[in-house]
């Protein structure tokens, strides 16, 4: 009988259900006192974890026992019982030579330990370390992180092996060949790990960690910080005056602003505002989510190149970031900017040979809500009996929605009488013109629904949008993209499913609550944790996030002008995506891999060089205020914190490593940066600080956030 027999597991789980007896001793250690280190042996295809430093050193040396190398996986433990009140001993076993597995096994469960001790195929070796147990529901206390156990049965007993991981992404990927046994222990977190996780949260939920914000999150905890962010007052885009589209020359000739073209007929002032708010604003999470949503519900300055229109459009996402998705869909649909961009505006009922315009109908379905394939709740494609994916709509569906979206025109322009087709105007939502609306029955919509003839056009619109909103694809389709934009480009189906579940029901029976979705994205175990070692985890920082995070790390003050101007050279001209397909697609597979890395679609040799050159100007140059903009301030990094450390290059790197890389800088990389700092005279601490900063922010460890 193997210890993995279902009986044993059941017994184990029953024991858990009874609860563990909490004993209270004074805690003697503030920080975890031991580290379990994982090794891998390719020849054996076995993992092995040890918390004994001398054993780890022996494997590192590779002389006594060869073939084992570190995987990078580590978790904290208690070296002695007295280090932690309530900790339990962890029994370590080795397969009895000749009969048992050629492998080690650990258990923190007393009953399981006792059972395995009675099994002649296992030999008890020691109490390896002490650790916490999960509660009756399998949850770990807040100051610990779950340890997941998986069992690889192999073809023979000697091939079998257990693996212990704190990274849920990696644990899930063991499925298939291995049996996932779930949470078996709770590993204590060091203060360094807690800090690293906070920094990672700020990479995901803000435009970049700042020392003061790290301290704030550590003080109140992540859930309370998210509540603070949900409640923070929204930043706003500056209001720009109405200008007549397409009449720049005439209008600006008479306008007192010598920069009339730039200020009103381009998105310059909005780009400035975006970066100013991103770098200095308090509503960081709202801005991040708004930026993400604006890359799903895309419009572009290539067509909407007037500040008053695009400013109002972008404000929809700041206002709606934490609202309901159906309300957001409705606001976007009725937006005169979206109406203009995807031609729902002045889309009339069939007239002779002219058919209703299909543009908004198609992209609403394909890009904004459900995508082209039927999805399971975890975002994977549903397959038919022949193993083929199933289209979520067809051409007839598009035409059905195109007929619903008829009859809307621009809002009435002050001073111009209302008409069936009002002149172009983005001040407000589109208005209904019943006479241009198709009053026949309209369909098929999704799930073969047909709208009855003769309903008021507002009723038709609401019904059609609700038809889309309740489609089962929306949760996984939108949830997955929010994960991609905030956390990682190629999320696991399990992660998507958990977020989609929050979309489908926020816990109070409400569907589409974006606040619940965002919280689910950010507190998920696949988002949280101090270190992520899955080789496909993370994402390339897109240019806007790369620049803003660099600026925030040194507490820069900025009017935003410089950052807005960098977009073209970095491949992301803010608010001017090439098409409704955004700057980059959510499906982009990094060439030569099977990993989805959307932002890599806009990273290439040219933009790579320009990332270095951005960092060069930011770190070593002067970004002076431009003279043509009232109130311009330029951009001023605050180097004082780093300069103060420059006499100790290691301390300087430590500071940057903690704030920018959540302490993932490798020893090799550190040595190279140290050498470059050493080449700068100690008499020039500012140049040392700038050198270290430049090398860190241009390194792939920073470019790729994980």
């Amino acid at each position: 009988m193997r210890f993995t027999d279902r009986d044993v597991i059941r017994t184990y789980l029953q024991a858990l259900a009874l609860g563990t007896c909490a004993m209270s001793f004074p805690a003697l250690a503030v920080e975890p006192t031991g580290t379990a280190i994982e090794f891998y042996n390719a020849g054996l295809n076995h993992y092995f974890t040890t918390a004994y430093p001398d054993e780890a050193a022996m494997l590192d040396a590779g002389t006594q026992v060869r073939g084992w190398s570190r995987t990078g996986v580590e978790f904290k433990v208690w070296a002695r019982a007295e280090d932690r009140a309530g900790s339990v001993p962890v029994c370590r076993f080795f397969g009895t030579p000749g009969s048992g597995p050629d492998s080690h096994f650990y258990t923190a469960n007393a009953q399981e330990c006792a059972l395995v001790r009675q099994n002649p195929k296992w030999t008890f070796e020691s109490i390896a370390y002490w650790i916490d147990l999960p509660d009756a529901s399998g949850k770990c206390a807040a100051d610990t992180t779950p340890v997941y156990r998986s069992f690889y049965p192999g073809k023979t007993v000697s091939e079998s092996n257990h693996r212990f991981l704190t990274d849920l992404t990696m644990h899930q990927k063991m499925a298939g060949a291995s049996i996932l046994e779930g949470v078996v222990m709770c590993s204590p977190l060091s203060s360094t790990q807690v800090e690293a996780d906070v920094v990672r949260l700020l990479e995901q939920a803000t435009f970049g960690p700042q020392a003061a914000l790290v301290a704030r999150v550590q003080a109140v905890g992540i859930p309370a910080f998210l509540d603070e962010q949900f409640a923070a007052r929204s930043s706003r885009y500056p209001a720009a005056p109405y200008v007549p589209v397409g009449q720049q020359a005439t209008f600006c000739a008479a306008d007192p602003d010598p920069q009339c073209g730039r200020d009103y007929y381009s998105l310059f002032l909005l780009q400035n505002a975006f970066f100013r708010n991103a770098i200095e604003g308090n509503d960081q999470l709202r801005q991040r989510v708004a930026f993400a949503l604006s890359q799903i519900f895309v419009t572009s300055g290539l067509d909407i190149n007037v500040a008053y229109g695009m400013g109002a459009y972008q404000q929809i996402f700041l206002d709606g970031a934490f609202g309901n998705f159906e309300s957001l869909m409705t606001a976007v649909t009725l937006s005169s900017v979206m109406g203009d961009y995807l031609n729902m505006v002045n889309n009339d009922k069939p007239a002779g040979i002219v058919a209703p315009n299909e543009n908004y109908a198609r992209e609403l379905l394909q890009l904004f809500t459900i995508g082209v394939w039927e999805l399971a709740s975890d975002g994977t494609k549903v397959l038919d009996a022949a193993g083929q994916p199933i289209p979520s709509y067809d051409q007839d569906t598009i035409e059905g929605f195109a007929h619903v979206f008829t009859g809307w025109t621009y809002p009435v322009l002050t001073g111009v009488p209302a008409r069936a087709h009002n002149p172009k105007n983005f001040l407000g939502e589109m208005v209904a013109v019943a006479n241009n609306h198709d009053t026949a029955a309209k369909g098929p919509l999704l799930n073969d629904i047909t709208l009855p003839a003769g309903a008021p056009m507002q009723t038709d619109l609401a019904a059609a949008l609700h038809n889309v909103f309740i489609h089962r694809n929306v949760g996984p389709f939108i949830g997955r993209q929010l994960i991609q934009k905030l956390v990682t480009g190629d999320p696991s189906p399990q992660y998507v499913a958990r977020v989609a579940s929050a979309f489908n029901d926020n816990g109070q029976g409400v569907r589409g609550d974006l606040k619940a979705v965002i919280r689910a994205v950010l507190v998920d175990p696949e988002a949280r944790g101090a270190v992520k070692l899955d080789p496909g985890y993370g994402k390339l920082r897109e240019p806007a996030l790369f620049m803003a995070a660099a600026a925030r790390a040194v507490d820069a003050r900025s009017d935003g002008v410089y950052f807005g101007a960098q977009g073209d050279s970095l491949g992301q001209r803010l608010f001017y995506p090439a098409s409704v397909f955004n700057y980059y697609p959510p499906t982009y597979v990094v060439p030569g891999t099977s990993i989805i890395g959307p932002e890599f679609a806009i990273q290439n040799a040219s933009t790579a060089i320009n990332r270095y050159n951005f960092a060069n100007t930011f770190a070593f140059g002067t970004i002076a205020p431009i003279t043509t903009l009232a109130g311009a301030t330029g951009t001023q990094p605050d180097w004082s914190g780093l300069t103060a450390l420059a006499s100790d290059p290691n301390a300087l790197i430590d500071r940057l490593d903690a704030l920018l890389l959540h302490r993932t800088l490798g020893a090799g990389a550190r040595a190279k940066i140290l050498a470059a700092i050493a080449a700068v005279p100690a008499t020039d601490p500012l140049a040392r600080a700038r050198t270290a900063f430049y090398l860190i922010v241009t390194s792939s460890s920073f470019q790729v956030e994980r």
């Binding site: 289209p391 993370g538 597979v589 890599f600 290439n604 040799a605 241009t698 792939s700």
Partner: protein, 461 residues
């Protein structure tokens, strides 16, 4: 524990999901390795280039090339009525007479340069070409024989670029052609593909790695003044690029940067230096398309410096998704395209490579013959394309021009969405054969090619 075994973290990474970060870096260096493997290449003067011009959004072929005989134009005008707001007047069209046709056609009025090139037999038209899973009849279409996600921009762009319409593809046919022919560039190690539009699917190969150059500006690191501190910093930049973090994405970021830094010394002088003989041909042309084609011409002009013998360039212009206001919008786009193509063609003549450079167009799809509300058109399918160069058997049409009848024999639906009569596979294979890729290799580049009657549409000598 058993002993002894070999440490192998690579295996761990592979087990965990995919290529290691260092594996990617070596992918970017594949040509560097080839450069040492092949000392000498093919004879001097052996040079060919393909230039792909992608019209993103779906150019309306139905307003690009129109029959102008009485019956043909009447068919057109019966659907694209004057009232629809998208009719081109018969008299405004620029007449062309295909060599082997008895029917005159007219080009869109913005294409005056292309009209001249057609008359000079430098330009050919490939009519009604598109994404196909096999030769397709209307009945087969109705029975479900069709490309995946037909009428979707992203999917149809991908299929035009991959030449695979029945599955998702990870590589494009430009990239796969490059895979097959990159050994000819081994002497210099210069990439086969140079893109002016980043890494798109068309340029993505299995082993070849494309280069992206800027449309304007420099291609060099700033801030390296040569002092000791700067030199040490540059050394650190390069050393950091060789660090394996174990993360595939970080490895890919490193590989992209490393390629850029490796090629900067070759490419930057080409793009920023003076003395180009062909730059004056582009004077007065300020459009993005002209700027891209000027960069291409500069790279061809500098082929001795790059050492490239085979090159594929990717150039793009966008905003062809004319759902509304089409007459104005398409006119502006074609007015950008036509003179830029002419200047580029003239540059190849000046450089003496006009028969060695073939330029061709691609686009998402055509647009419905039926007008859509707002003076535009919706997503359709088979489209007309241009092929330009002295190797082209120009002044002629290839493929079959569709019948402009809603719901007629060419229509997949009821709105004038033409079922293509030639496939992207055939189009690409014809170009690939000319480029010097063997029949056996073409079969690998275009896996569905055997489904079609011919692998050569005949428009290249």
């Amino acid at each position: 524990m058993k002993q002894p075994q070999h440490p192998d973290r690579r295996a761990f990474l592979r087990r965990a999901g995919a290529l290691s970060a260092l594996g990617l870096a070596s992918r970017f260096d594949a040509l560097g390795a080839l450069a040492t493997a092949h000392a000498q290449g093919t004879p001097a003067g052996d040079y060919k280039a393909l230039v792909c011009v992608f019209m993103f959004g779906g150019n309306d072929g139905n307003n690009t090339i129109i029959p102008i005989d009485t019956a043909g134009y009447a068919q057109y005008a019966a659907v694209r009525t004057a009232a629809s707001g998208i009719q081109l007047a018969q008299a405004s069209l620029l007449p062309i007479m295909p060599l082997r046709s008895s029917r005159p056609y007219g080009l869109h009025p913005a294409l005056s340069e292309l009209q001249v090139l057609f008359g000079e037999r430098k330009l050919a038209v490939l009519a009604n070409v598109g994404t196909l899973v096999q030769p397709t009849t209307p009945a087969q279409y109705s029975a479900g024989v069709r490309p995946l996600s037909l009428y979707s921009h992203s999917d149809q762009q991908a299929q035009w670029q991959s030449a695979v319409s029945n599955a998702a593809a990870g590589t494009g046919w430009g990239g796969r052609l490059a895979d097959k022919i990159q050994s000819l560039n081994a002497g210099s190690g210069f990439p086969v593909i140079t893109s002016l539009d980043g890494t798109v699917l068309f340029t993505t190969g299995s082993s070849s790695v494309p280069l992206t150059i800027p449309v304007s500006g420099s291609f060099a690191l700033a801030g390296y003044t040569g002092n000791a501190a700067a030199n040490a910093r540059l050394a650190a930049v390069n050393a950091l690029l060789a660090e394996d973090t174990g993360n595939i994405l970080a490895g890919n970021a490193n590989a992209i940067s490393a390629q850029a830094l490796r090629l900067s010394a070759t490419v930057n002088p080409i793009l920023t230096g003076g003395g180009s003989a062909i730059a004056p041909l582009f004077s007065g042309l300020t459009t993005n398309t002209a700027k891209q084609l000027l960069q291409v011409a500069r790279m061809i002009e500098a082929r001795a410096a790059t050492g490239a013998r085979r090159q594929i360039f990717f150039v793009q212009l966008g905003s062809f998704d004319t759902h509304n206001d089409q007459l104005r919008r398409q006119d502006a786009l074609l007015r950008e395209l036509s003179p830029a193509l002419k200047a580029f063609y003239d540059a190849t003549v000046t450089l003496g490579v006009a028969s060695q450079v073939t330029t061709f167009s691609l686009s998402d799809f055509a647009r419905t013959l039926q007008p859509a509300s707002g003076g535009g058109t919706d997503h359709a399918w088979g489209n007309h394309h241009f092929v330009l160069g002295d190797a082209v058997k120009g002044g002629d049409f290839y493929g079959e021009y569709p019948q402009l009848i809603l719901g007629g024999p060419s229509d997949a639906e009821r709105e004038g969405r033409w079922i293509p009569t030639s496939s992207v596979d055939q189009y690409g294979a014809t170009l690939g054969r000319w480029f010097g890729v063997s029949a056996a290799d073409l079969a690998a580049v275009f896996p569905n090619l055997p489904r079609f009657a011919t692998s050569d549409l005949g428009f290249l000598a």
